[in-house]
Symmetry: C2
Amino acid sequence: MTDSVSKALAHLDARWDEYLGQLVELSRIPSVSAEPSPSAGVNASARKVCDLMTAAGLESCRVIEFPGGHPYVYGEWLHAPGAPTVLLYGHHDVQPPGRPEKWKTPAFEPTVRDDGRLYGRGVVDDKAGVMVHVAACASYLQSGGKLPVNVKFIVEGEEETGSSSLEAFLREYREQLAADVIVLTDTSNYDAGIPSITYALRGIVGIRVEVQALDHPVHSGMWGGPVPDPVIALCKAIGDLVNDEGILNLPVWADVRPLAIKDREALTALPFSEKQFREQVGLVEGATLIGDQRMPVWGRVWRQPAVTVLAFEARPFEGSTNQIIESARARISVRIVPDQDPQKIQDAMVRHFEMRVPWGLKVTVEREHAASWWMTDPKGPAFEAASRAMTKAFDHECVFIGCGGSIPFVDPFAKVLGGVPALLMGLEDPPCNAHSENESLNIDDWKKGTRAAVYLYDELSRLPR
Amino acid sequence: MTDSVSKALAHLDARWDEYLGQLVELSRIPSVSAEPSPSAGVNASARKVCDLMTAAGLESCRVIEFPGGHPYVYGEWLHAPGAPTVLLYGHHDVQPPGRPEKWKTPAFEPTVRDDGRLYGRGVVDDKAGVMVHVAACASYLQSGGKLPVNVKFIVEGEEETGSSSLEAFLREYREQLAADVIVLTDTSNYDAGIPSITYALRGIVGIRVEVQALDHPVHSGMWGGPVPDPVIALCKAIGDLVNDEGILNLPVWADVRPLAIKDREALTALPFSEKQFREQVGLVEGATLIGDQRMPVWGRVWRQPAVTVLAFEARPFEGSTNQIIESARARISVRIVPDQDPQKIQDAMVRHFEMRVPWGLKVTVEREHAASWWMTDPKGPAFEAASRAMTKAFDHECVFIGCGGSIPFVDPFAKVLGGVPALLMGLEDPPCNAHSENESLNIDDWKKGTRAAVYLYDELSRLPR
């Protein structure tokens, strides 16, 4: 271990409470990017992140605004001539908190519990990821006055709503962002204490579909029989989205890249307990794990498409009466994998509803987001450096995993930077409930992840250029 | 025409504005029986009906309360010794108003429009029906001091929520309610200006079904694939409730009584315009009239079972995120016909969801109401009397029709009174929007219906006993 690394780690060890306090403060800010811009919460968290970067010792820290979008934050330290440049990425926006009554402690009152976890909206996705690099940079800059690499640090403000300003951002800052390697801390660890590098992300495409039968609701007794029920019609088409085995029933499988033998071997080598999987996801007793049974369970999540009904609107129970209602609607997303084309999948979804809604009812489909999958071959010196750093910090061998989620930022970003390696490092563990109520962070893994970043900057300083 | 009938009709003609004013006043009261008891609205409308009965000249008028139920109103006039006794029925409770933004004028601010209709919640279902008999009784009592028949007048306060106190009411008042004929004014006319007597009502059975997959919502990316989506599972089972032709897909058809030849002839003889039917129901262009294509359209409504999804709850669009939610639920009703057994149909609905929800998810079914169908053979002197009365008042031949709706009161009531004839006379016409927003009454038909009641009391006075 070099002297600067030891000093940085010692700095961290003396200041965990301080950084945890900063994470709590940052997580108090309700930076929900689903709110229309300008959002007071997202603006406040952008300013807060900018202040934290500045306090850490980063330079040229600033908030970058886009018309109609949510602000990004940028900071840098570029005084390591000859050393590689590392682009760090995180995001400061969060998902909406969901249903307040489901939170054991309020979403925006971050609370440490006896189980060693910090609970609150955004704590793990992705404010802890931001704090990993704030703290790791500070540990070097404040203990030794310098970083072993050049650093450019981008913290996005609209990751949870599909990064709508990303294109504008990349167009404007492309040259300024040039780097030798990208480090993103917004993914998962395979399990608590198991450091993981993510080599594949699914993409996501979404639609909103409305089925209309009538121009006004009518009495279900006086008219029921010949008059089609739009709820049943929509249910028929949604039910047809998967077959009896729960496999996506759209003609989109031809483009799914088969699992390479080495990927299947790696998957099979990972420790897997179906019992634990069921517990972590909270599956009801007796339920089946659906989908392609020839594929290991995590392979279905990482390397196969899946459909989810995000929302369904008909009449709610409250106030419902004996009526055939006029229309019903749903929001539906499909997670996509290599080599599926987002546009083609969205087309297939649109066609499905146009064809499968019965009885000549009026079908209106609105396209939502369409973000591509991303996959890399995790080979070469950057991945080796990352693997060593993670293994040291966690005292556990680093594993390479896929991720069923999507980070719309990764694919266009990696492309714009000329295909440089992208290292996706995780803090989310299976029980973390990202996007749900009672989101939480494994505090011990967050400390290890921060130590891993310290090791990583050092490892990357020796990257052949 | 007897002298007393002419005087009663002259009385009415001089006072239409007054009775319309009373109907407007009564309809201002939000007597929504879906509210928990005691409901200020339902109590106020009960008192108002009681006052109207008293003012009409009826005697022993009183509000009858049931623990946990909504109040009935009773009034009588029993000074026609030797003449038959007629039991009049109506209800003063109403459906919830629905969505305020859909009402062109507020639900509880009854408004007469240029189209000759009165708009407001409950105006046609069934406050106009109540006012028919209030005004018809008043016309005799105030013009000649007596009615040609004995009258017992029951106005229910919980028809729209399934008449939960009916059993208690019948147990307590059975003997006091003894009558030779029942007249209910809570059904339809086949069309505006076409007087109609309803000889068949469908029954209704309902369930609430919940499908649970998880104990908390999870990220659709991190888990989607092997983890079943409860919304899709519920959609599959709901979609299976009808086949591709829109025919109810439960094993409940064996008990459906085939249409007698004379009933089919009567059905076919009724004027029917598919174009008008489509307009009245507000069907979108190009939609199919679903169901058994060998059966005339109204035969599907009156004499065949039909299913409706009354409510569906998953996540609403607002605030929905990329999650597999833990559970989804629906309220579903089936309208039933002779000779289907309500219990058996409800059992079939429960079994359907227990069997057809896939992937071993947890299915919880709660039984709602189960009310029987009712059918009579509209023959004999009482029906002849009613037909003559209606034909005279409307100056149009009276037709005999079925009704797809349910009046839970009719079947047990007719049974308890020893199978006396039940005359179901209509005021609801196809565009009346009962149970929907913008409910309305055809004012001209309401006047004709009131005149028909005047004729009817006279006709029934000559009923052989």
